[in-house]
């Protein structure tokens, strides 16, 4: 046991035996006081436990929780940051996706406006990146396509259109036509012209309404 001031006294000449004396005298009292303190401490502990139990028993925690303004509490918290830092989002999403059945997935997809998403896509850009010619050559059965197209075409009508377009009869006439056929054509056209001229003249003479050109006899 340490007594204040004994160190200083023991270093003074002639007083070196004082600490020993003091210790010997005070030892019984110190021991008694120490044991009282230990007991008092134990009693205090018991008293505190009892007190806390009594307080807890008397307080209505539910009522207190009910009176708490959680909105205010939540406003003070940065929930987003908390979720981002403390939640393993990948694990959560994985769990959600694996737990989803086909039905709920299709229900979810129904809510998604795919058309709106598609509208946002730059199709031209995607197509520019693709070698469509190569894709068609590799993946399309061209023979089948051509066969289908040809089956739907009226080849005879097409041929006739082409023949009419290039005026094949005229080419044949030109290449094989004799002087006589050319003359006959000229005489016939002249005849038609003369017919119309006569018609017009007679119409004028008879004060009739002139027939529309090219409508002789119609």
């Amino acid at each position: 046991m340490k007594v204040p001031g004994l160190g200083v006294v023991s270093r003074m000449p002639g007083l070196s035996a004082v600490p020993l004396v003091v210790r010997t005298v005070t030892a019984p009292a110190v021991e008694t006081v120490t044991s009282y303190a230990v007991v008092a401490r134990g009693l205090l502990d018991q008293l505190l436990d009892q007190l806390i139990a009594d307080v807890v028993g008397r307080v209505d925690v539910d009522q207190i929780v009910g009176e708490v303004d959680f909105d205010q509490v939540l406003d003070k918290l940065d929930m987003t940051q908390i979720v981002l830092t403390r939640v393993d989002l990948e694990a959560v999403v994985d769990k959600v996706l694996t737990g989803m059945d086909e039905e709920s997935l299709s229900a979810l997809l129904e809510k998604v406006d795919v058309n709106s998403i598609a509208r946002r896509l730059d199709i031209d850009a995607i197509l520019d990146q693709m070698d469509l010619t190569d894709v068609v050559l590799k993946r399309v059965d061209l023979v089948k396509v051509v066969d289908t197209v040809l089956a739907q075409l009226d080849m005879i009508a097409l041929a006739n259109e082409i023949i009419d377009g290039v005026d094949l009869p005229e080419i044949i006439r030109d290449s094989t036509g004799s002087m006589a056929s050319e003359t006959v054509k000229g005489v016939r056209m002249q005849g038609i012209g003369a017919d119309q001229a006569v018609d017009r003249a007679i119409d004028r003479l008879l004060l009739r309404r002139t027939r529309a050109p090219g409508s002789a006899g119609s």
Binding site: A157, P169, K185, R188, M189, G191, A194, V198, A216, S218
Partner: protein
């Protein structure tokens, strides 16, 4: 049946007729072309008569060369011969091809009622009428539909038709229908 009709329609699309003449096809021919055709036919008939006469002369010469003389057949016989040749000529050609040589040159065709080729009776009647009253052709310019007297009476018509063959009756009927409307 439908296929045949389609084939016919397809065939009709390719026309050997020059472009400039196509709009006139099926329209009733006027006075000038028909007069020229008639003149050409007259020449043909004259040539046939002349050929017949020369043949007759040749026969006479063969049988009696010594006292050979050009026979005088008389006006009546000549006219009768010309009448018969003309009627036969016109009847045969109108029945077979719908046009005489003169009409072939001028690109004309004679059509009966409904745009069909004349039957032998119709062709014969028209031939008789044309030969007896050739002046009936003068009615063409006076008629609004370019009808000669014969056409008016017999219901026939003469149209521009440069096609080598007579088109299907349907095609010509369409033209006939248009004619009737106007």
């Amino acid at each position: 049946m439908d296929d045949e009709a389609a084939a016919d329609a397809t065939h009709a699309k390719i026309s050997p007729i020059p472009r400039e003449a196509r709009p006139y096809q099926g329209q009733r021919a006027g006075l000038v072309t028909r007069v020229i055709a008639a003149v050409l036919d007259s020449l043909v008939i004259g040539a046939v008569l002349l050929g017949g006469y020369l043949g007759l002369v040749g026969l006479i010469f063969l049988f009696n060369p010594r006292s050979f003389q050009f026979p005088d057949l008389g006006v009546v016989f000549s006219l009768a011969a010309a009448f018969v040749v003309a009627v036969v000529y016109l009847t045969v050609f109108w029945t077979l091809s719908g046009r005489t040589y003169g009409q072939h040159v001028m690109g004309l065709r004679v059509l009966g009622i409904g745009g069909r080729r004349l039957r032998i009776t119709g062709a014969f009647l028209r031939a008789m009428f044309v030969v007896v009253v050739p002046v009936g052709i003068v009615w063409i310019p006076l008629s609004r539909n370019n009808k000669s007297l014969q056409d008016l009476v017999l219901g026939t018509r003469v149209v521009y038709d440069w096609e080598p063959r007579l088109a299907p009756a349907g095609a010509m009927e369409a033209v006939a229908g248009a004619d009737e409307v106007s």
